[in-house]
Amino acid sequence: MLLEGRKISKRFGGVQALSEVDFHVEAGSITALIGPNGAGKTTLFNIVAGAIKPSSGQTVFEGREITGLPADEICRRGIARTFQIVRPFATMTCLENVLVAAVNRHPGRPRAALEAGARDLLAQVGLADLAGQEARHLNVVQKKLLELARALATEPRLLLLDEVLGGLNTQEILQAVEQIRRLRDRAGITILWIEHVMGAIMQAADRVIVLDQGRVLTAATPREVVSDPRVIRAYLGE
């Protein structure tokens, strides 16, 4: 078990965003996190990644508790993320965007070596030609790819993907799913993935965690989940 959440609760003022969420992610898996809007998916991500602290509960990564650690420390422990609404470093070039992550992973390493690695990553996501381009000039899809390359440059063992397929066309979705699979198969990166595109989840995910109104509704294989009447009810309403 790579990541485990124990009784995680989060309250924002009067809103109970998460209540006693228990979940786990197996090492080497592609685990999807789904649920209707407002179910608490991104809140759970933010807690795992250290962007916000839970009101109560614990997160455990590789057997060590990481609850409440600052985001940069959690990144150094091996968890990287992308953002639902892309957040590239707008006035920096694509290469520099990736380089920042690499430099903070290996502070002592010479720039030339880090730059070579960063260019490799850009090539992997298909942005090699845009290395010198400032990130603000990219389109949304390119920005998402850049965020992926940037996250990979931190050399994560667990990658949190937050709706990376939003805004992509069918062709691009197929490519992206293929890419995510390759990350797991070739680089051995475990993936926890928030997604609304069910087709992609059916194809790629080993396990699906369903959140509804801040609680875990079920956690099972994609096939079991789509035929679960509780899940259908959660999505369609009573």
């Binding site: 940069d72 150094r76 990287a80 957040r87 520099e96 920042v100 903070n104 502070p107 996250a151 931190t154």
Partner: protein
């Protein structure tokens, strides 16, 4: 552009070395003061421009440098150079402390805390008459046995080059990449492992040391240290220079410091109204050219070469 950029630094430096030679005492004085402001604005830019910490305590740090060195020299006969080093060190330590204190504060809270620091220091200096001579000002010895504007010009120029060199190296190093990431998006920077808190304290310490250094030298140039150095007037002057020149760019504060200080001399005849003029200029720039003069220059260049 890229091939010529290598020559810009040395060419400007050579020009700056020759610049005061044909000039009279008064323009030399204006240049020396401008150099002090370049150091102040460039180092403040590291805080406000690169790490988003709008500190109002920067002039106070210059005051720490000036008064530390001045008091040591005037009261204990310490060599002014040693005094400047001591002032730089003390400003660095206070910067470290203030930076750590403001660590988890953002935006307005940090500004208010540094503002309070600045005002407390100002009150202490004005009231501790025995030590500081209050608003009368403290007479201090010069840096050299013989007083010559030209010598001071070259000392301040060398100091400015040193400060700019350190800032340039920082901004263009791995550290600088992280600075720029924080400047762009703090949340995303943290998410890729940037130690934002470390960076902020580091920026505070380095910028404060530079302000202390600049203030120490400036005090020994003026020969009379008054509470006008650690004043909000001077602080807002530095702020206006940085904003008008272009916050978050390396060249911006340098251009801003020269432009504003020279302009200030030109419109001095209007008395207190010259402050009003700067207010208006800063407003117009903030509204229509948020990247400052250097931003305007860059976008003109872009238009010429589409």
């Amino acid at each position: 552009m890229i091939s010529s950029s290598k020559w810009i630094g040395p060419a400007v430096l050579a020009g700056m070395c020759l610049l005061p030679l044909p000039l009279g005492i008064y323009p030399q004085h204006v240049l020396i003061v401008s150099l002090f402001y370049v150091m102040m604005a460039a180092s403040w830019n590291l805080l406000a421009g690169y790490t988003g910490q709008v500190s109002f305590g920067h002039a106070a740090m210059a005051g720490i440098g000036a008064y530390t060195s001045g008091i040591l020299a005037a009261k204990a006969g310490v060599n002014p150079w040693v005094g400047v080093a001591a002032g730089t060190l003390l400003a660095a330590l206070l910067g470290l402390g203030l930076g750590a204190l403001c660590l988890k504060m953002g935006g307005i809270y940090l500004s208010l805390t540094t503002l309070a620091f600045s005002q407390i220091l100002h009150i202490i200096i004005v009231n501790e008459y025995e030590v500081t001579r209050g608003t009368m000002g403290l007479q201090v010895p010069g840096l050299t046995a013989e007083y010559s504007k030209l010598t001071y010009y070259y000392i301040l120029l060398a100091a400015t080059v040193l400060v700019l060199f350190i800032l340039y190296r920082m901004i263009h190093s791995n550290l600088g990449l992280s600075f720029r990431a924080v400047q762009n998006d703090e949340t995303a920077a943290r998410a890729v492992g940037v130690r934002v808190l470390h960076l902020r304290v580091l920026a505070f310490t380095v910028a404060s040391a530079m302000a202390g250094f600049a203030g120490g030298l400036y005090g020994h140039y003026l020969l009379l240290i008054t509470p006008e150095i650690p004043s909000l007037d001077l602080q807002f002057y530095v702020l206006a220079m940085t904003v008008i020149g272009g916050m978050g760019s390396f060249v911006g504060p340098i251009v801003g410091a020269f432009a504003i200080n020279i302009l200030a001399e030109k419109i001095r005849d209007y008395g207190e109204y010259h402050v009003l003029v700067f207010g208006l200029i800063a407003l117009v720039v903030a509204r229509f050219a948020p990247e400052g003069l250097t931003g305007v220059w860059r976008s003109l260049g872009r238009r010429r070469t589409p």
